[in-house]
Amino acid sequence: MFSKLLIANRGEIAVRVIRACKEMGVQTVAVYSQADREALHVSLADESICIGPAPAQLSYLHQDALLSAALATGCKAVHPGYGFLSENADFADACEQNGLRFIGPSGQTIRQMGNKDAAKRTVAAAGVPTIPGREDLEDVNEARKAAEQVGFPLLIKARSGGGGRGIRRVDRVEEFDHAFREAAQEAKACFGDPGLYIEKLLEHVKHVEVQVLCDQHGHILCFGERDCSMQRRRQKLVEESPCAQLTAAQRRTLMRYARQAVRAFKYEGVGTLEFLLDEGGNPYFMEMNTRLQVEHPVTEMVSGVDLVKWQIRVAAGVPLPFQQKDVEGRGHAIECRINAEDPQQDFRPSGGRIELLHAPGGPWVRFDTALYQGYELPLHYDSLIAKVIVHAPTREEAIRKMHAALCETVIEGVDHTASFQTELLNEPAFLDGSYTTDYLSAREGSL
């Protein structure tokens, strides 16, 4: 096992990793920016090192500072948490070049996943369905034929695009030629490349993801799925496992695809495969996250496996002692992400001093946070301040438990989303599990 590990992150995930290390007897080194001197992870770790000023570019994203801190303190490994440098292939390479084990897949694998198109082609070749579409279209007649095969509605997107530019929605074939020419012109003007591709537009979809854990010995575990469809502007607010709408047969199919995809990538470590589920429950691979995720506790609760500890152990070469059937999960778990944002004011980020803090408790209630009473919450970073996670034998009981736990959660001094989430739990679409990723935007539109 690694005798000493540097946590290249902050907030609740840094605390989560430090806790795992403490239990494993691994010495921990925390890093912090000047804005985080008073942060909980700084005092929890065995050693802590200031790596720069408040802006993340100068501290938590500053690779040289992180590597220097790790080497100066004699660390053997670096845990990147999520966000920041967790999916940065160059950082993973730099760690390995300096004799530090990067807790995650190799730089090469991260790079491979980072190229979303190439990743999709790889899984498609492994027999996993991806969103239907056609690439590299320039001629309008050829494109129209391709569009008719793919089916409407569809999206026309720029091959070299980004940031939403050059995207056209087409509902009927009669609109296609016009939209295609327009998109090509815009793509040429914006990106200097008129090349387009089309993709079937999937509406009312669920965002369902599969947690995987792979050791260095080719052993792959697919944990149950998480339904992360309760999103606001692509930010997940509530996650649950299992997905209430998935039938046993659909789940088996999803797990089979996840396994095929992971095998195609020769993956190592923890990772998450994201799928879209259409209204018929058919999964389409979107992308793979090559890191620990915010919502990993949901899976920990239903599987009973400490994913962070196993992530570290697998990086140290330990073979997984579990079989697939050991990790398929019992009961139902829900997580609410409490963000320091004001739901009354369009979720504007909120900072300030935590005047009063009361954590929810009781059996199968988990509260992951880096807050403490008197803590001055800086505004420089992600607004996630706490995660409430509950576990119960049935979904209905889990919803009740979450409801009670949120009501018991008191965080005074900053605005946060806990009451908003309490309301969400009562929504019919949440209660019957039918909510899709567009649910919250539709709800906001109707309010």
């Binding site: 096992m1 690694f2 005798s3 403490k22 239990e23 494993m24 007897g25 691994v26 008073e38 909980l40 700084v42 005092s43 929890l44 065995d46 802590s48 053997k76 490994a77 004799g99 530090l100 084990r101 260095q216 010995h217 080719g218 152990r313 990086a315 140290a316 070469g317 330990v318 403490y372 008197g374 803590y375």
Partner: protein, 283 residues
């Protein structure tokens, strides 16, 4: 506003599983079969067979001795017999030094006497780390002397062949070993004594064309390349594409050059059984 000393430190002992990078890290081996890295210890613990893809990694002579012979029973012979560059072949001396450093052996074969499940035998095993077990005058001499000794003591011989063939740096002197060893094998055989060979990857060239194929019973390890000229040479010479698995142990078994494949897990039991069956009244 919390003090650094607020929390007590649990001071739990470090988990003993896994390893860490750095000086004391376990050396790793990349498996040519599945191109994954695995710790050397784990590979050694599995008889040098990849636990994932079952690829047979090459085993050093000493590892074979540990695998096959009763503990402490091995008595090495002629350890001081080494090649001396009789032809003053360019760069040969340096290569010999390098090979010795790399393998920890003085020559491409280790010979001696030992016991398999209590049964005494002459034993030779070729060393892949020493110029891929290539046969020079010293290798030929050591094996010849082993057969002569086994003949005097009326012992069976168990031999592990692994060789790229004759040692080019010794030219004709190297080729002559084929005849010399063959003579010793013949004398041993004529006396009614048993010779069991296990062909390992690779057994080629002058070794395949002499004593490897002269055993009374020829076993081969799965996947081992066995042949005279290698597949690349044949392909380039004949300009023909060779069939899949050409010259592999399985191919040679199907074509009658090998008696049986012997997986490593069951090899000791099989060898022990064969030695016992051919021991006459000695066992």
């Amino acid at each position: 506003m919390i003090s650094k000393d607020l929390f007590r430190r649990p001071n739990l002992p470090l988990e003993s599983v896994g390893r860490e990078p750095g000086r004391d890290a376990q050396p790793e081996v990349k498996c040519p079969g599945c191109s994954r890295s695995l710790p050397q210890d784990e590979l050694a613990g599995n008889l040098h067979v990849c636990p994932r893809c079952r690829h047979y990694h090459k085993m050093s002579a000493r590892a074979r001795i540990a695998m096959m012979l009763d503990e402490g029973s091995f008595e090495e012979l002629d350890a001081a017999v080494v090649s001396r560059d009789p032809l003053r072949f360019p760069d040969y001396r340096r290569k010999l030094d390098e090979a010795a450093l790399q393998s920890g052996e003085a020559e491409g074969v280790v010979t001696g006497l030992g016991r398999v499940d209590g049964l005494r035998c002459g034993f030779f095993v070729m060393e892949p780390g020493f110029m891929m077990g290539s046969m020079g005058a010293a290798v030929g001499e050591k094996i010849t002397r082993l057969f002569e000794r086994a003949l005097r003591e009326r012992l069976p011989v168990l031999g592990y062949t692994l060789s790229g063939g004759a040692r080019v740096q010794e030219g004709i002197l190297s080729l002559m070993q084929m005849a010399k060893v063959s003579g010793a094998v013949r004398a041993h055989s004529d006396a009614g004594l048993f010779y069991l060979a296990v062909l390992c990857d690779p057994t080629t060239g002058g070794v395949a064309a002499s004593f490897a194929m002269q055993a009374d019973i020829i076993l081969a390890e799965p996947g081992a390349l066995i042949g005279f000229a290698g597949p690349r040479v044949i392909e380039q010479t004949t300009r023909q594409t060779l069939p899949e698995g050409f010259q592999r142990a399985e191919f040679q078994l199907a074509h009658g050059f090998v008696g049986r494949l012997s997986p490593r897990e069951s090899q000791r039991a099989l060898v022990s059984l064969l030695l016992r069956m051919h021991a006459g009244g000695a066992a």
